[in-house]
């Protein structure tokens, strides 16, 4: 499972950040290829990403209405080790397909982190945990490098260099 | 023994002054300066600032012991003149603590030094008050009391 793409969607459904990551290459093949920095996904137009984000936001809202009360996750206090819990209790949490997996993490303020990964071969529960940890780390970077930036306006697209740099360090490792 | 203390700001204006006597040897803590000396004290200190500004570039130390003297009217009704000594302490921010004392410093050099160290502590605490700017007059009555308590402890 490798993270291919990250979307950050604000609480009103606007896309504030989107990036594609390169797929990690095996160490044996890395000597021969220099294509490690090219993203694994085809780029769409900027407008398409906005539409995607908006659609997802809508689907998410509908999903949380459709979820039967019995299936909703109870809001039990998280264990002490579990900082930054996902507040995605009743909405769409993951989509598993043969081409990709999609995971959604929601913060307390309604901000959504969404990642697209390569399809998983292991069991789904494990993959969900891994994805959630990854998104939590993205959230941490966001709260440091976006929320502590005096030049960032809440709800607007993220343009900060420091955020982008840290995010790539986190996901790609360089 | 009597003491006159002044804290001089970086612009050579006093930001705190006080007068006190010794508590040792049965003293009651009030100064015994004669009326003439009371009037002269600020002028004596003011004239010694020049000396401080000269020697402050020759030494790294903060405590300047008896760097200046003054021959002036003695205590009470006796008209014999006596020697006054001036000791000082310079903080790293070049605020001067200057003190006139009418006894030779060789007897209580350490206690004067200790007194200045404690005074520095009180001064830095004043400085850490966000409402206090460098060179503001220190009008706090608590500061005044603490200074007098230090005087009682060491002098």
């Amino acid at each position: 499972m490798a993270i291919q793409s990250l979307y950050i969607i604000n609480k009103s459904g606007g896309l504030i950040y989107q990036t594609d990551f390169p797929l990690p290459t095996n160490s044996s093949t890395s000597t021969s290829t220099t294509t490690t920095t090219t993203p694994s996904l085809t780029r769409l137009t900027a407008n398409d990403y906005l539409v995607l984000a908006g659609t997802l936001h809508g689907v998410f809202a509908i999903a949380s209405r459709l979820t039967p009360t019995a299936v909703k996750l109870t809001k039990t206090p998280p264990p002490s080790s579990n900082i930054l819990p996902s507040y995605n209790n009743s909405g769409l949490r993951c989509i598993e397909t043969e081409q990709f997996n999609l995971y959604i993490y929601q913060t307390i303020t309604g901000l959504k982190f969404m990642i697209i990964t390569t399809p998983t071969v292991a069991d789904l529960n494990y993959a969900t945990d891994v994805a959630e940890t990854a998104m939590k780390s993205c959230y941490e970077v966001y709260s440091d490098y976006v929320m502590k930036d005096p030049f960032y306006e809440l709800g607007m697209p993220i343009r900060g260099k420091a955020f982008e740099r840290r995010l790539w360090e986190l996901i790609v490792g360089k | 023994m009597s003491y006159y203390l002044a804290i001089i700001g970086t612009t050579d204006s006093p930001i705190y002054e006080c007068e006190f006597g010794t508590h040792k040897q049965g003293g009651d803590g009030t100064s015994k300066f004669s009326p003439e000396m009371k009037e002269l004290n600020p002028f004596i200190l003011h004239s010694s600032i020049d000396i401080v500004e000269d020697i402050q570039w020759q030494t790294n130390s903060m405590f300047l012991k008896s760097f200046d003297e003054f021959h002036g009217p003695g205590t009470g009704s006796t008209s014999t003149n006596v020697n006054y000594y001036i000791s000082g302490f310079l903080t790293s921010g070049n605020v001067k603590f200057l003190m006139i004392h009418d006894n030779s410093v060789y007897k209580n050099e350490d206690s004067i030094k200790q007194f200045f160290m404690d005074l520095n502590d009180l001064y830095v605490k004043t400085l850490l008050n966000p409402f206090y700017k460098v060179n503001d007059v220190i009008s706090s009555s608590v500061f005044d009391l603490k200074v007098k308590a230090c005087a009682k402890k060491y002098l």
């Binding site: 440091d144 490098y145 502590k148 930036d149 005096p150 030049f151 960032y152 343009r159 900060g160 260099k161 420091a162 955020f163 740099r165 | 006159y4 970086t10 006093p14 705190y16 002054e17 006080c18 007068e19 006190f20 009651d28 803590g29 009030t30 100064s31 600020p42 402050q56 570039w57 030494t59 790294n60 130390s61 903060m62 310079l90 903080t91 790293s92 921010g93 070049n94 520095n120 502590d121 009180l122 001064y123 830095v124 605490k125 004043t126 400085l127 850490l128 008050n129 700017k133 460098v134 007059v137 220190i138 009008s139 706090s140 009555s141 608590v142 500061f143 005044d144 009391l145 603490k146 007098k148």
Partner: protein
Amino acid sequence: MSQPSDIIQVSNPTQTSTKSALKGGYNPSLGPIQLPTSYQAQLASTASSKRNIYDHSLSRRAPEVNLSSLSYIFNVMIQYSQKNSKGIQELEGKLNTLGYSIGPKVLELITLREGKNAKREIKLVEILQFIHTQVWRTLFGRVADELEKSSEADDEYMITDKQPLMSEFISVPKDMGQLNVNAFVAGIIEGILDVCYFQASVSAHTVETPGCPNRTVFFIKFDRDVIERENLRFHK
């Protein structure tokens, strides 16, 4: 019938107006005044009733501040300064002023905490080294990376910080150009130098190197008089 007690209350001098009359502390228009010891005792009893700044100890072992709290307050300081300024230069000037008043306070605190080793810095290079090591360690928990003398002029020095703490989380937008929020730290340095009689102007510049996108150079330009005095005193 209750009249006598009223009269006694009004004419009882021991309980009225004692508090308002007690006014200790230094007054520059009066000069040093000596209050009677009884007054002082009363003052002490009223003053000691609540804990004040003079009762706190200054020598704490690890005086650390939460980085997030620091970032948020710095955030607000920048936004406030930005709101009140018309351009980049004015913003940097405002940040510099904010830092300037902190300089002398930090300096005195650091020297006090050094205890017996405390000394005044009277040489130009030594005060710069003091800022480079002690001040940096107190403020940011580590020493600054480099301290250099300019090869072009004898009154110019540079302190370099590869990863400045204050701008760690901050990305300056493109339209803000050369803004460096470390102007605040430059103000602190300037405050320290000025109060030590090493008058200088200090500015912060971003000088990027590979791997250190936030690398900041604090450019210190001393007044001509300072250099001349230094030459007269120490290089005869």
